[in-house]
């Protein structure tokens, strides 16, 4: 299974090769991390992915455009609306249509809700990896109301398949606005409280400050994406760089932190949750009336021949899709540029020289989705 790596290395008598994975409680999703350890120090790290490679890009070529949407969901199940959005906006620009005004609002709100729940789970996973089980469970508890909100609109807890070409699948249900505002208020209070715990607890600070430092330069060279990159002080957010939907008109700031250590990466995520809540609160008052999708048959979509690269800001960073159409009912080629893949490749250099005990903290502070890496 892992023969190639092992035959290449020569171990000293005091070193050992430790496999972390594929079944390891490090992260949601299997991957293999080979560590060469001397004592407790990691001398070398090798990453092997592909344990849940499903061939999504190939499957997309054999589906009609509408049938593609549920498959894009399952690329990263924590950010399925982002994945829908990046695919649909690409196809929309191939077709030369625009989503309706109401759909834009709904999509933006859904995207931000997705970001909140993904970050909550990411922080929770990370908390359990440093042994903070209570924080993990609190985060999951905070996540459940968001999931119910998403479920209220889309009908599913995880894989929503909600975005359509030129609109969304369903309209917002009655009472959505009140429920959202109430939920978000509660979540803001709780997240602020957790933020306080995470910035004042001395044991936690000792565990995270100055650990796994990813410098600004290294982050840019490795192409690390999303909060992991902004945690290193790089001010890069697709919502500002290449705005889509309503983002040009919205008031929000890109969260960055200067140090690039584990603490900062998590801090960025916590602050982004608060920022997302602020964005939703801006949008939700101004949702206009009108249709929620363009009126044409979604089963007969046939974009003009051409190619397009569309991108959105996933909870994990820049999510891009390169879609080639040959004028038939099915895409000719879909190439996915996922953020988690780039984030994962920063892991081996970061782990080199770290403690075995920090390895879990560093790996899960990157919050990369194995499923999306493998596709």
């Amino acid at each position: 299974m892992n023969g190639e790596i092992e035959t290449q290395i020569n171990l000293k008598p005091s070193e050992m090769l430790l496999h972390l994975g594929p079944q390891h409680p490090l992260q949601p999703g299997p991957f293999l991390l080979d560590l060469v350890l001397e004592g407790e120090t990691v001398k070398d790290a090798t990453l092997e992915m592909g344990f849940i490679h499903k061939g999504i890009e190939k499957i997309l070529e054999n589906r009609t455009y509408l049938q593609c949407i549920p498959i894009t969901d399952r690329m990263c199940y924590l950010a399925s609306i982002s994945n829908n959005e990046v695919f649909c906006s690409g196809v929309e620009s191939l077709m030369g249509i625009e989503p309706t005004e109401r759909a834009k609002y709904i999509r933006t709100i859904m995207l931000e809700l997705t970001r909140i729940q993904s970050h909550l789970l990411g922080i929770g996973e990370y908390a359990t990896d440093i042994g903070f089980l209570s924080m993990f469970l609190w985060m999951i508890r905070e996540r459940e109301p968001i999931i119910s909100l998403l479920e209220m609109v889309t009908g599913a807890r995880l894989n929503h398949s909600f975005v359509r070409f030129g609109g969304v699948a369903y309209d917002l249900p009655a009472g959505f606005k009140e429920k959202t505002l109430r939920t978000l208020n509660e979540i803001r209070k709780k997240v602020e409280k957790h933020d306080e715990i995470m910035s004042r607890d001395s044991v936690y600070l000792k565990r995270t400050k100055g650990v796994g430092v990813l410098s600004r330069k290294a982050a840019m060279e490795l192409g690390v994406a999303g909060p992991a990159m902004r945690g290193s002080g790089v001010d890069y957010d697709i919502r500002k760089v290449d705005p889509y939907l309503l983002y040009p008109d919205l008031d929000f700031k890109v969260i960055t932190a200067p140090n690039g250590d584990v603490f900062d990466r998590v801090k960025v995520r916590l602050s982004e949750i608060l920022e997302s809540i602020y964005i939703i609160e801006q949008c939700i008052d101004m949702i206009p009336g009108g249709p929620f999708k363009q009126g044409y048959n979604p089963y007969l979509i046939k974009p003009k021949p051409g190619e397009v690269y569309s991108r959105v800001e996933d909870p994990r960073g820049e999510m891009g899709m390169y879609i080639v159409s040959d004028g038939t009912f099915k895409p000719y080629r879909v190439k996915v540029r996922g953020p988690a893949f780039a984030t994962m490749q920063a892991l081996p250099p970061l782990l080199k020289g770290a403690y075995m005990a920090d390895n879990a903290a560093i790996a899960s502070s990157m919050d990369s989705c194995t499923s999306e890496v493998d596709r």
Partner: protein, 126 residues
């Protein structure tokens, strides 16, 4: 003398019981639990991977330095145990002298500690 032996007889009984009870339980468990032979049931677990090499390696020498430093300090602390029970004994002169002696002893211990600290013997990884 017999008082000391008397107080350790229950300890001996507990010691025997502590060895017999788990062993007996394990024999019963072996009998009543199911057994199966799957292909690689007895292979070493390593997160689903096939382990590379043996686990029993020559471990980092730093651990042994810790152990040596520990032995030194623990033995020195051991010398203090008899002292605590007797130092307030006979008269004022005895008490004063014994306290001075122990303060000197602890000082020497502390100098040794500082030396070990300076040399980095108490550093986890140099």
């Amino acid at each position: 003398m017999s008082g000391i032996i008397d107080s350790f007889i229950p300890v001996a009984i507990f010691l025997v019981f502590g060895f017999v009870m788990p062993v007996a339980t394990m024999i019963i468990v072996k009998q009543i639990s199911p057994r199966s032979q799957a292909g690689r049931k007895l292979s070493t677990y390593e997160s689903g991977s096939v382990p590379f090499g043996d686990a029993r390696i020559m471990f980092n020498v730093q651990y042994y330095l810790f152990a040596i430093v520990f032995v030194i300090f623990d033995v020195e602390v051991m010398f203090l145990y008899p002292w605590v029970t007797v130092y307030l004994g006979v008269d004022k002169f005895f008490t004063t002298m014994s306290v001075i002696e122990v303060v000197l002893f602890v000082l020497v211990l502390f100098v040794g500690y500082l030396y070990a600290l300076k040399k980095g013997a108490l550093q986890w990884v140099k």
